[in-house]
């Protein structure tokens, strides 16, 4: 009777070579990248445009945004004043271009601060149960207050300045980030590669730094872009109601606040900053969406 357990005639196992590695993927060119991730490409490009606009504001055919010229107040858009002038004769175009600085500084400032602080708190809470119980209840408490009201309350306690606006919005947003990070950390802790690291003798601080932290960065980065967008809107809202950036500094919210009384007869004072704010927020959101799509599936990639 023939048996199938013995190697049949001529079927000698190959000599023990090292396995052949699959060929490494060629580095994608920028064009390839844009094709595969259109949302990142478009969002990123638009955001960069605004950043450049903010940085090079003096070179973009602007005049001093705070220069008063009451004789030429409330002129409609013309060749001289591209976006018209406001009720104090200031050039709306220049104010809008310079206003980008405030929005972007606040947006990025909040994103970076809230993400860092939230990351730190989330990591510690996720890992140390005692800290978790206390800190998360505090975070829950903070989250129950609508963030804009919290920011207004903070601003009421201090004087108006851009720094304080950033601090106020950050404090309102930290709970959300820390919750997110904590959730991710709790999942990551159960992963076999963390258990393997413990078995390999790695100490807890090293485990957090080498194994947990790198895998929490992706969701945090995505969350940070959305924080940036919402912070820009928050700043505009605060300035609009007079609780944000001091009126002397042009910010899109301030411009809209000042133009509010006249908007039915001179809509352009409100219109232009509103359009710029919308497009900026949209671009940042696009970038965030694209990053989320790009980063998530890659984490689960298998061959």
């Amino acid at each position: 009777m023939s048996t199938t357990t013995l190697p049949p005639d001529g079927f000698t196992p190959a000599p023990k070579l090292a396995d052949v590695l699959p060929p490494r993927k060629e580095r994608s060119k920028l064009g390839m990248f844009a094709y595969r991730h259109p949302t990142i490409a478009v969002g990123g490009f638009m955001v960069s445009l605004f950043v450049l606009m903010a940085i090079f504001a003096p070179l973009l055919w602007t005049v001093d945004p705070t220069a008063l010229a009451p004789a030429r107040r409330t002129r409609p858009p013309s060749e001289l004043y591209w976006f018209g002038t406001d009720m104090l004769g200031r050039d709306v175009y220049s104010r809008v271009v310079y206003g980008a600085r405030i929005s972007l500084i606040v947006g990025f400032g909040v994103a970076i601060c809230a993400a860092s602080i939230g990351l730190f708190i989330g990591l510690i809470s996720g890992f140390i149960r005692a800290v978790d119980a206390v800190v998360m209840r505090i975070m829950d408490g903070m989250m129950s207050i609508p963030s804009i009201l919290l920011a207004i309350a903070m601003m009421a306690l201090t004087r108006a300045s851009v720094e304080n606006v950033i601090i106020a919005i950050t404090i309102a947003d930290v709970p959300r980030v820390s919750r997110l990070v904590r959730g991710v950390v709790l999942t990551l802790r159960e992963q076999p590669y963390v258990e393997a690291a413990i078995a390999a003798g790695t100490r807890t601080p090293m485990i957090i730094i080498k194994h947990i932290l790198p895998n929490t960065l992706a969701p945090v980065i995505v969350q940070a872009t959305f924080l940036c967008a919402s912070a820009m809107i928050a700043e505009a809202t605060l300035s609009f109601i007079g609780a944000g950036t001091p009126p002397i500094i042009p910010s899109w919210g301030n411009i809209m606040a000042e133009g509010r009384a006249l908007w039915q007869v001179k809509p352009y004072i409100v219109f232009f900053p509103a359009v710029f704010l919308s497009i900026t927020v949209l671009s940042v959101n696009l970038l965030g969406d694209g990053l989320r799509d790009a980063l998530d599936p890659r984490m689960a990639k298998r061959i």
């Binding site: 090292a18 699959p22 590669y193 003798g201 080498k210």
Partner: protein, 346 residues
């Protein structure tokens, strides 16, 4: 180095005595303890240097928990674990750490047992760095040697895990387990998630490495055919208890315990001409939260009689070198008439 006394000759490398691991279940309004999962409830075995002991059983029997308990991935509820005659279960984390380099693990899932954001070099070097065994260029050499041992090319070091297939990733996990010069490797279902032909490669590799390096293996698996190829001795677990322990040939040719017999007869044979006499167990495995009284297997055993429901059998010598936890001295070949509904021949 430290004050480790040389163990007396003949001391097994690993001894486990009366190991128990219960997981509390929290419930109720204040989250107090409402019950226990008796995952492992009194398991004892030894492994001698250079041998392979397999822990087999189906899901829920506690075999993976035993592996993790030996690794001290969580504290044990009761019992003792001894390495070279020295107790390791009651050591503090700091005292345990230097001993960790002697016991390493290979997990089941090749996709989640390697950190996706680390290069292979860092993954394999981690235990070496932790125990201060090498550094700098010597470290890279060591990593390269380990990759050679597991039959992967050296320059794989600079790649990321996601570039490799499941079988190759298990090789990387094996290289990591060998890295600190371990004596005992716990393979927790290490080949279960791999394709048939890849399983063969990894099993052969483990076998070769054991011969070459004198490794001791605790091989946890539910796949009896694979176990038969690789192991020296076998221990069968059911619902947190050990029901039989014997050496390879004896267990596979003349199993004693009814559960072992049912398990062996349930494995399908890749030969269509063979007609099996099958013992098919009725019902499902009881819950480890509320295990049956007496012998835990009595609810499904085709040979059950009254004493089984009350009196829990202990592991005892039943001849031919087998230890079995069954009240019967000799388990008959045919099911008694009274229990006919509990078993069916194919």
């Amino acid at each position: 180095m430290s004050n480790s006394q040389t163990p007396a000759p003949g001391t097994p490398l690993l001894e486990v005595k009366g190991l128990k691991k219960h997981f509390p279940i929290h419930g109720g309004i204040l989250g107090g303890k409402t019950g226990n999962v008796f995952a492992v409830d009194g398991v004892s075995f030894d492994i001698k240097r250079g041998e392979t002991l397999s822990l087999v059983g189906e899901s829920g029997c506690g075999k993976s928990t035993v592996g993790k308990a030996v690794l001290r991935l969580y504290p044990i509820t009761d019992g003792e674990v001894l390495l070279d005659g020295r107790r390791i279960d009651n050591l503090s984390a700091g005292e345990l750490r230097p001993l960790r380099k002697r016991i390493q693990v290979v997990f089941q899932d090749p996709f989640s047992s390697l950190n996706p954001r680390q290069k292979l070099r860092d993954i394999i070097a981690e235990p070496i760095i932790n125990f201060g065994l090498a550094s700098g260029s010597e470290l890279d050499d060591r990593v390269g040697d380990l990759l050679d041992k597991v039959r992967l090319p050296r320059d794989a070091m600079y790649r990321y895990p996601h570039e490799f297939s499941g079988g190759q990733r298990q090789r990387i996990a094996i290289a990591r387990a060998l890295a600190p010069g371990s004596d005992l490797i716990i393979c927790d279902e290490a080949v279960s998630a791999l394709d048939v032909s890849v399983k063969a490669q990894i099993v052969n590799l483990l076998s070769d490495l054991q011969d070459e390096l004198g490794l001791t293996l605790l091989f946890i698996s539910h796949d009896l055919a694979i176990v038969e190829h690789l192991t020296h001795r076998v221990a069968v677990m059911y619902l947190g208890k050990m029901v039989e322990m014997a050496d390879r040939k004896t267990l596979f040719s003349t199993p004693h315990h009814p559960y072992t017999r049912a398990l062996l007869s349930a494995v399908p044979v890749p030969d269509p001409t063979v007609k099996r006499q099958r013992i098919i167990l009725r019902g499902d495995v009881p819950s480890p939260i509320n295990p049956p009284s007496g012998c835990r297997f009595h609810t499904r055993c085709p040979f059950v009689f009254d004493r089984c429901k009350v009196d829990e059998p202990q592991l005892r010598d039943v001849g031919m070198g087998r230890m079995s936890a069954c009240h019967l001295d000799v388990v008959p070949d045919t099911v008694p008439e009274a229990n006919r509904q509990a078993a069916v021949a194919a």
